[in-house]
């Protein structure tokens, strides 16, 4: 498997006798070298730290095996399974949406903001795994959490406009008492003009 993402080349490699995922942030030629370096190092560090925090709390994310700042690579556990984007086209979409809502709520409860929780960044296996923490950050601000929800809902809307997943997802997300206030922030965020017409 080899996938050229928006900021890294992700591929399966053999490492210490097993198949793992290698994520290498390759150079973006359009970006100024100083900016490129700053972003790559920031994102590599933040990604590995945050994933380790989630792992230590038992959140289903890939385990990290190695981080190397000289070639900007991370080696991590290979999770088998299809993307949520694909899985939502099947008949079990409700179950997956509920599990994803619960997972995102769990991640947020640890003050982690995923940053790019589109339906392509969850993998469906025995449970749902969150992947690609390249844009993640730490925050306990409900608005940042709501902004994550909006990214997810938007990708749901643009890729899965045929299923009405919004309510199912949000209900599952707000099962935990602590997550309820985030829905208020989401309301405020979506009322900010730019978003209130988007679910056409």
């Amino acid at each position: 498997m080899k996938f050229r993402g928006a900021e890294a080349i992700v591929e399966t490699i053999e490492w210490n006798g097993k198949t793992v995922i290698s994520k290498i942030r390759n150079k973006r030629g359009y970006r100024h070298p100083t900016l490129e370096k700053r972003l790559v190092v920031e994102r590599l560090r933040s990604e590995s730290r945050i994933m380790e925090r989630l792992l230590s709390q038992g959140v289903p994310v890939p385990a990290i095996f190695s981080v190397n700042t000289s070639d900007n690579s991370i080696f991590m556990e290979l999770i088998e399974g299809q993307t949520l984007e694909r899985a939502l086209r099947g008949k079990n979409f409700k179950k997956y949406l509920i599990q994803t809502g619960q997972l995102l709520s769990q991640i947020h409860s640890l003050n982690v903001i995923h940053g790019d929780p589109t339906t392509s960044n969850f993998l469906v296996n025995d449970k749902i795994y969150a992947i690609d923490f390249g844009l993640s950050s730490m925050s306990d601000d409900d608005e940042d959490r709501a902004s994550d929800l909006r990214v997810f809902l938007e990708s749901l809307d643009s890729h899965h406009s045929e299923i009405n997943g919004r309510e199912i997802f949000l209900d599952a997300y707000s099962e935990e008492e602590a997550s309820k206030s985030v829905l208020q922030s989401l309301k405020v965020l979506e009322l900010r003009g730019r978003y209130n017409l988007m679910r056409g």
């Binding site: 050229r4 993402g5 928006a6 900021e7 973006r28 030629g29 359009y30 970006r31 100024h32 100083t34 900016l35 700053r38 972003l39 940053g115 790019d116 929780p117 589109t118 392509s120 844009l135 902004s147 990214v151 938007e154 990708s155 809307d157 643009s158 890729h159 406009s161 045929e162 003009g193 730019r194 017409l197 988007m198 056409g200």
Partner: protein, 327 residues
Amino acid sequence: MSEIILGIESTAHTAGVGIITSEGKILSNQRSVYIPDKGEGIHPREAANHHSEKFPILFKSALEEANLSPKEITLVSYARGPGLGPCLRTGATAARAFAYAHNIPFLGVNHCVAHLEIGLLEGATDPVLLYLSGANTQVIAYAAGRYRVFGETIDIGIGNGLDKFAREAGMGFPGGPKLEKIAEGDELIDLPYSVKGMDLAFSGLMTAAKQKVDAGHSLPSIAYSVQETAFAMSCEVSERALAHTGKTELVLGGGVACNSRLREMAMTMAEERGVKCFVPEKALCVDNGVMIGWLGYQMMAADYEITDDDNRVNQKYRTDMVEVTWR
């Protein structure tokens, strides 16, 4: 039989009348841009006054350039939004007056979608559009019956940000091209780089840039750093949209897409990614009547049924409100 479409643009500072045939041949692209007084931004009512003064001249010169009489026009199309209310109403009135006087059918279309559709004329078939203008900053692509907004600014439009910064640094309107002219350097001044998923934010960047002016950095090197940072953000989100949608074509649109550095960066990104990059000529990137006419034709050619609603201007007419029936 070949159709001849007259398109009218007046969403912001540009009054435009374009004439295009159903084969995509551009017969005329007349534009007149309202320039506010130094130190000021666009004043909607004054922009509208400018447009109402210029439209008669623009109609005349467009028909002259195309060597046509009004009777030969088969469809009139105007931008019904998004944009500034007074400007939109002026364009709509001009469209109605011309269409009624010569008994030609007319309809209002979405300005942002027109920016994308004119890119298809360049040869793209199913692209991601990086649309960078004064008011609008969006990454748009087609999915399930609509042009969906995959990413956009969560505060101000990129061009608006560049203009504001330029104005505060003592340059006139529009500031984007002026910054491009003075931008110089190779050392990057550290500025906020704000990408959230596929969304962007520019206000913090512009405020920081202003602070660098106050701190005594040279204007050319700040202009250079602002461009490097803002355009890298824009290229990054469009690359994210390309990765996310799996599409293999990129189209640039909007006034800021005239910037040579932005064009260069987008083409580098496309090349590294192995996707095709379509860059319409500058006269078709900026606001213009041709693209409005072309979209009107696409809709009518697919038997679009005009409703009353289509002939009301809508200042908040979002890209994703348009049901795409013509593809």
